[in-house]
Symmetry: C2
């Protein structure tokens, strides 16, 4: 198996990306194609000896984090993210992982691979470390001004994804809203509620902000605007809490003593808050495996995202997704 | 000064509400009118001796948590929340505090007191314990399907509120969005961006989910749908982290030892995550002081919300708000 990794994508590219790729190779024995400026990638690889399974595919352009995604992807045909998905289209690699501009990653995936039949808008599914296990929050990728039918599609895709990839059978689906009662919310969610209710999904109704974590449902569907805000807030809170705990410790003698004796305890606690543990977020709805990582991903987060892509390919999630979506839609319609 | 407290409002009413009122009286020497079913309130007050400053105003109805706010407020003329705002309108009390149905509380305030001139939609301002001090998030009250002008108004009100009440001079205002660059987001925020930019506010541009905490801005404006989801998520995360820390401690011998020796440390840490510390959320934009508390408020949260109302009245925030909003709007238009 070979995974294409966008070596130029992310705030810490190419160093962290290359490090993550090296770690993934060491851990799993897969092959990796680093896509980007060869000279820069070679410098980042340095004198590492463990790079036999890593090849470099040179390209001359990069989509920057603040560029307009669709425009940049259309214009920059030799950008690392477009070239990576092009390799996937040509069957040279099995999946793409990128920590670059997430809108551009989605756009490049869509442009090169096309959509799964029946899906109007691909979406980004984030895996949240909830109180009672993983929760899929979809869309977090910035599909703004969604129509209600798109929210239904997000549910269908997440349902198919969760069964094959997370081992969840008939997961409960909740619609993110401002109250539990039917009839709450804006016009978009009121209509989405009806569509979800009429679908074959195990739809349990509206859920609220706290239920992204509570475990009441395993899938939370929402407009990409709300999902994006929620994800970034949750990530920031998890990170801040860990940092505050450390800062507080270094602030007092008691804290320092606790830190010294309680290291294993605090490490374990922090891990439950660690979003990097879950690697990246899959793009659901395109004809191929694409994983989007946080722009600020650490080497470990990149490595975990690559491992997620490997798992995704091994379990043949992509084909199952297409089949299940078409079956679910037949039942729904 | 006399504060009306909706004794029937909230998941833990009347017990927690009455306890909070008793604590507030003990702490500050103010007078309180508990509004609700006299018999039930008397039972909750029990044999407490410290109730001289507390009077009961009987009424026969209650708006339930899951009732449709506007309908319930219109129909139930003798409900505790309507009667409380009626007392405020008649000058019998100086402010209203309720942990009941927040939509109904806003609707009752609006119905009884009317809006500040120039404001189309009153909003709920939540005070978030951010990394670098308090941040005002507005609207969290469920003004869904907001027009861009409403989001501008939220900014104007929060600006006026922060100067007089939180001691913030010329606070930075950010628009909650899915990216920092201008031109990001849905149609609503794109237009709101322009209105904010043309206003007299210290508008710094778009901010993302993480900036609700980061301290990059002191005011975050958004549609009530997004704000409500974000607030509930943040509250839940803060609570969960504290609980996970405790659970983890009780799970291991090392944790138990740490808990025993580190109690003062952990108490301090938890306090930084404690949303109840900040009491309630003021309704901005109505002609009077109304504070909304979380439905699940503890006695301490109720007490803190009452103290916030007292502060709000003492500093004459309401008049200042009206003046500043009109001044800001003159500059804006």
């Amino acid at each position: 198996m070979r995974i294409a990794v966008d070596a130029m994508g992310g705030d810490n590219a190419p160093e962290m990306v290359v490090q993550g790729a090296v770690q993934a190779v060491a851990e799993s024995g897969i092959d990796i194609t680093l896509v980007g400026d060869e000279e820069i990638i070679r410098a980042a690889l340095g004198r590492r000896s463990d790079t036999r399974s890593i090849e470099i595919h040179h390209c001359g352009e990069t989509v920057l984090m603040d560029e307009s995604p669709i425009k940049a992807v259309r214009m920059k045909k030799d950008s690392s993210i477009r070239v990576a998905f092009d390799l996937l289209k040509r069957g040279r690699v099995d999946a793409v992982v990128s920590a670059g501009n997430s809108g551009a990653t989605m756009a490049a995936g869509l442009l090169n691979l096309g959509k799964i039949e029946g899906i109007e808008r691909p979406a980004l599914a984030s895996i949240i470390p909830g109180d009672k296990g993983r929760v899929i929050l979809i869309d977090v990728g910035g599909n703004v001004d969604c129509r209600p039918i798109h929210i239904l599609h997000f549910g269908l895709m997440a349902d198919a994804f969760s069964e094959s990839c997370l081992g969840l059978n008939d997961p409960k689906v909740g619609l993110l809203n401002i109250g539990e009662e039917a009839g709450k919310g804006n016009e978009q969610v009121k209509t989405a509620y009806k569509l979800l209710q009429e679908s074959s999904l195990n739809f349990v109704g509206n859920v609220e902000g706290q239920d992204i974590l509570s475990g009441q449902v395993q899938i939370v569907v929402c407009d990409g605007f709300v999902g994006n805000v929620a994800l970034k807030l949750a990530e920031a809170m998890a990170e801040n809490v860990s940092r505050r705990l450390k800062d507080d410790m270094m602030d007092s003698l008691l804290g320092k003593v606790l830190a010294m004796f309680g290291r294993s305890f605090f490490d374990k606690f922090e891990k439950t808050l660690d979003y990097a543990e879950y690697g990246g977020a899959p793009i659901l709805g395109i004809n191929g495996v694409g994983i989007v990582c946080h722009g600020g991903s650490s080497a470990r987060a990149i490595k975990n995202a690559i491992m997620m892509a490997v798992d995704y390919v091994e379990k043949n999630v992509q084909d199952r997704l297409a089949v299940q979506v078409s079956e679910l839609q037949t039942v729904s319609s």
